[in-house]
Amino acid sequence: MEQDVTIKITDRDGVIHEVLAPTDMAMNLMEVVRSYELAPEGTIGICGGMAMCASCQCYVKSEHELPEMQDDEEAMLSEAFYVKDNSRLGCQLPITPEMEGLEVELAPEG
């Protein structure tokens, strides 16, 4: 469908998945990962997407311009583990047409 974007997601076992994500369903990256079951239920999106658990942390590997980090995301990442400079919370990244070709890697469970 034309409103879909393609996103490359590396799961926690290092397997790369190229998935189609809809831009018109108010979905975020965490939800896309869950909808394709790329991480076991109960290990991602634990807080439901409130930037309160960091179970959807991922590393952004492409140069896409993403929405600026809000205070709660920044605060959560400051308490999370395995955080790198390119860490983001998937639940705070709504899927938009600008994300076509985005590449991310899921951070380890922690």
Partner: protein, 353 residues
């Protein structure tokens, strides 16, 4: 030994509503929860966040929902074993169950309802290579008894409410309190942040930011921690202390329930959703976010429905062959185990002259 009719594992919204539905059938409930307070995720993760899909509540805060559920089930006098995790289950010859917690508290019931959500909340442990060697030897992830810190040197790490609140509390108890956080900003309640600022200015809290604890020093017990601070230039130094308390929040783990011989799929317990939400072990039910079946939705309102049907099945197990028909609370009222009665006011009959 605690005896009850339905032993509920998990005191979140689904578990609490079970108490009410069971009470209507004259069944008594007891709840076990690893957290020190009832409410589950609603009180632990997001008490101040609104929920919009509870029927008849256009908007309700998760913490308020917990309060309302406690109020609704109060007259059925639920028992609570809080701050303990259900560890083992043993089926008795008569088909009843004994569930024992990690602290050895035993519970005996003919029916067990697992309403465990995503599992029991366990502290998130920071990635410090030798931290496991010092657990209970000066490293504690949860503060249970603040008195053990009296006149001791304590280091707390973390940037949320519990790190702030305990730093404030222990500033009057410990001989020295140090708070370490990865950045200068804290995300706790504004008054907690201000209080820490005030105590820092008075020299009662030693604040080190932006910094991280990267190691622990000691033989038998904690003697010091190694801190890496990235202020202007990066440097590493040691802080002498008796206790190191990392407070990085809690994350849910299915835990020991996973070893009870239940059929597990996708970190959830498979149940018979066509009938009564029973698991593969007769007499053990799973309701709310902890269960799975085709089309499952992890919603509080679905947990309420599942709890209601489960109670009917529990009634049949506990009272085999005993007749019962569903009654409406509006018609029959609610008779509490505490002797209270709620009922609809009688209609007034008055002649028109």
């Amino acid at each position: 030994m605690i005896k009850t009719d339905i032993l509920i594992i998990g005191a979140g919204p689904t578990g609490l509503f079970t108490v009410f539905e069971a009470g209507l059938l004259k069944l008594k409930c007891h709840l076990i929860d690893a957290l020190p307070q009832p409410g589950g995720q609603c009180s632990e993760i997001y008490p101040k966040k609104p929920i919009y899909d509870i029927p008849a509540y256009p908007e309700i805060l998760a913490g308020d929902l917990t309060e309302k559920l406690l109020e609704q089930c109060k007259q059925f006098e639920p028992g609570f074993t809080l701050g303990e995790r259900a560890e083992t289950i043993e089926k008795q010859e008569d088909g009843t169950f004994i569930v024992t917690t990690n602290k050895g508290t035993k519970h005996h019931a003919p029916v067990v309802a697992i309403a465990g959500g995503l599992g029991s909340f366990e502290p998130r442990k920071p990635l410090i290579h030798n931290i496991a060697d010092f657990e209970d030897k000066g490293v504690e992830y949860i503060i249970k008894n603040p008195e053990i810190y009296r006149n001791k040197k304590v280091v707390i790490a973390g940037g949320g409410d519990s790190a702030l609140d305990w730093s404030i509390f222990l500033s009057d108890v410990a001989s020295e309190i140090t708070l370490i956080h990865r950045r200068n900003e804290f995300r706790g309640h504004l008054d907690s942040v201000e209080k820490v600022q005030e105590l820092k200015n008075k020299g009662k809290i030693n604040l080190i930011t932006p910094a991280e604890v990267i190691g622990i020093v000691g033989d038998e017990k904690v003697k010091a921690i190694v801190v890496k601070q990235a202020l202007h230039i990066e440097k590493e130094f040691e802080i002498e202390c008796d206790h190191f308390v990392p407070l990085f929040g809690l994350s849910p783990k299915l835990g020991p329930i996973g070893n009870w011989g239940l059929e597990i799929e996708k970190n959830a317990i498979k149940v018979n959703n066509a009938l009564d939400y029973q698991t593969n072990i007769p007499g053990v039910f799973a309701i709310g976010d902890v269960n799975t079946y085709p089309g499952k939705l992890k919603l509080i309102l679905c947990g309420f429905h599942e709890a209601t049907l489960m109670c009917q099945a529990a009634y049949q197990i506990i009272n085999p062959g005993k007749r019962y028909v569903l009654k409406y609370t509006t018609v029959s009222g609610v008779d509490g185990f505490d002797g209270t009665r709620k009922e609809a006011p009688k209609a007034v009959v008055k002649a028109i002259e």
